[in-house]
Symmetry: none
């Protein structure tokens, strides 16, 4: 007991979700294995649902998403992978004022600058 403090790992959240998806459709582990075209073994599914796998490969998740007719991105998110568009977080930090101008470019300008940069770097020594 007293395992409460054990914060639910994303793996467990995913497991619970997968479990509900499967049972909700009245499928057995082996049925899912079949339905996925043997792409996912029943044993692995079990571990998955019990939160014992930290990072299932997207292939697996994709197959399961198909079988369950669930949203692939949602599964990915629950698996702890990057959220579909929450990726705009990034590490855009660094605050040189001049760079601001450089950050706001049209596609054309950006390409032109990259080309030019490649040019001057090729001409001189590497920084």
């Amino acid at each position: 007991m007293a395992e409460q403090s054990q914060q639910r790992t994303p793996a467990q959240a995913l497991g619970a979700y997968l479990h509900s998806l499967r049972t909700g459709r009245g499928l057995s582990l082996r049925e899912v294995e079949e339905a996925s075209g043997k792409a996912v073994s029943n044993a692995y599914l079990s571990q998955l649902e019990n939160g014992k796998i930290a990072k299932p490969s997207p292939h697996v998740l994709h197959h399961l998403a198909l079988v369950y007719d669930a949203d692939y991105q949602k599964l990915m998110a629950r698996a702890g992978y990057i959220a579909p568009d929450a990726e705009r977080s990034a590490e855009a930090r660094h605050g040189r004022a001049a760079t601001y101008a450089i950050e706001h470019l049209t596609a054309e300008e950006e390409q032109a600058l990259l080309d030019y940069l490649a040019f001057i770097r090729a001409r001189k020594g590497r920084p």
Copy 2:
């Protein structure tokens, strides 16, 4: 001979793409390693570009997408992860931040680029 229809594996397609992205920005393997905050080793990148890795983790792809300012979903697709049809958005956006190459400039380069930017903008009458 015997080389003929060596169907390009998704890994190789991804590798070629990553390679073009990197060289297109004039970055070395180690520079990318740095740019990713050590998230991806240069050794791994090499294997990746040479199509030796079948299923790179999305984390890696995400990091590279940030470094190259490429579309994460597109990379995923090229890595063979999601069905081509599932990639709906894919390109529209452009409000992106600058690429690593453009973010990490020497003072010299930055000045040169800013000058050049001013030049092309003046030329085209851009705001």
